[in-house]
Amino acid sequence: MGEYAIEFQDVHLSFGTQKVLDGISFGVYPGETKIVMGGSGTGKSTVLKLVLGLLKPDSGRIFVDNEDITDFSESQLTVMRQKIGMVFQEGALFDSLSVYENVGYRLFERGADEEEIEETVRRMLRFVNLEDAINKMPAELSGGMRRRVGIARALVGNPKIILYDEPTAGLDPPTARTICELAIKLRDLEGVSSLFVTHRIQDALTLADHHATIGDNGEVVIVKNPRGQTETATTFLMLRHGKVLLEGDADTFWNSTDPYIRTFLELD
């Protein structure tokens, strides 16, 4: 440890008799986005919940921002969670609250004043390009809009770490692409560290092959990396049967000879 933003050391976790994680170790460097892949039910969401301390491992250690959070109390975890933004699978917006109240949730809980909340919420919604939806209720939003509101909510408080749980699942390709571009912007311009859970190979391609820069007129542009040069800030983690099947950069991943990974990449 010492240099990672998130680190798992030999983490085991079972639900009853079902062994979900069977000795998982990996690390995410600051500023790095690690794409977590694996079949349904391999424990990808479980990994994210362990980072947040929503679940406790049976054994092993978990470090977040160089702190060993494994034995943290609930109040210590509450403080630690301020560093983390989580984008849940279906958005997990609070049904009874408007978009405004959802995005500003952290600030409302803290008792911030109305002006600060309004200003922050608008800024976050502008980032995900949804400022018009500020007064809507979650039930009025489409799937893609819900995820984007979920991202805006996760960004309040400028967390250094962002966890994405299948943010693109069930979305049409252009909307999925928009969400990946948000993740690219956060990675390259804000320097956040991320775990990005997905099972869409297209997301992996988008994240690994593009980077965000500031254009000539001060606007943000997403550009494709030159041929043969992969973005080192994106790495891969493949889970299978509760173990890490592969961890490494994009090239290691694409050139893997493992038959399971090759079917996953639709290479065979």
Binding site: L52, L54, E74, T78, F88, A92, L93, F94, D95
Partner: protein
């Protein structure tokens, strides 16, 4: 043996739930708004049905007992019998069963839906303790609303009995009311508060616990809701027996 173990685990979980809801009573935020909203939905939401049920229970009590009392030449005691029955048993039990059916189930369904859509996890991820934000307001609301609603049920029940006494039984209202007033005594009153407090607690704990342990999507939410109603009603009836025994012992009438 397995069932016994399961029961113990549930008991432990329920105790833990209450503990996590009530500890740090003054740590901010205090969630007053949530508490008031819960009191409002639970109190005013259940009031109409409590009034309706209370009225007819009082009426039918008068109708049923007057015949028996008359054969002893004691039909002037109808008011007292109705009032005592309501105050000691029917008011608290009936009101809280209605609370379990209407509010307990609603709590289980709401928290259950929040659970399966990961809203509870999201809440924790955003630094809120769901036990303080969700469980505590419901606990407070049910424990305060159960006695208040019971008082409403008792009063309207006595009115129901009065209506029957005047129209069907030819008992003068002054006689009925004077007799009903005799039923009011200190022991029955604190007994009623004790019972309704405990029943309110039962409905709140069972509703919250069932909701928060929901798994398995929308089907799970339905199951949690049903379970919460059944378990609350059984627990209310069982604990009513033991509470009655306790109250009778303490008030020296046993």
């Amino acid at each position: 043996m397995n069932l016994f173990l399961l029961l113990l685990v549930e008991l432990q979980e329920a105790t833990l739930l209450v503990w996590r809801a009530v500890r740090h009573p003054f740590r901010r935020p205090l969630y007053w708004r949530e508490t008031v909203v819960q009191m409002d939905t639970i109190g005013f939401g259940t009031l109409p049905i409590v009034l309706l049920a209370g009225f007819f229970i009082g009426a039918v009590l008068a109708l049923q007992t007057a015949g028996t009392l008359r054969s002893f030449g004691a039909q002037n005691y109808t008011g007292r019998l109705v009032a005592t029955s309501l105050l000691r048993e029917l008011g608290p039990v009936l009101t809280c069963i209605l609370l379990a059916g209407r509010s307990g189930s609603g709590i289980a369904a709401e928290l259950g839906a929040m659970c399966v859509s990961e809203q509870i996890d999201a809440m924790r991820a955003l630094g809120t303790d769901p036990f303080r934000k969700l469980v505590r307001p419901r606990l407070i609301a049910l424990m305060t609303m159960a006695p208040i609603l019971t008082i409403f049920a008792n009063v309207i029940g006595i009115v129901g009995g009065l209506v029957v006494a005047i129209t069907f039984l030819q008992i003068p209202s002054s006689v009925y009311l004077a007799s009903a007033r005799e039923a009011l005594n200190y022991d029955d009153l604190w007994g009623m508060f004790l019972k309704t407090g405990v029943f309110g607690l039962i409905v709140a704990i069972v509703g919250c616990r069932c909701g928060l342990r929901t798994r398995g999507g929308t089907v799970g939410v339905g199951q949690s809701t049903t379970t919460s109603v059944v378990v609350s009603i059984v627990l209310i009836l069982v604990s009513d027996f033991f509470l009655t025994r306790l109250i009778l012992t303490l008030s020296g009438t046993a």
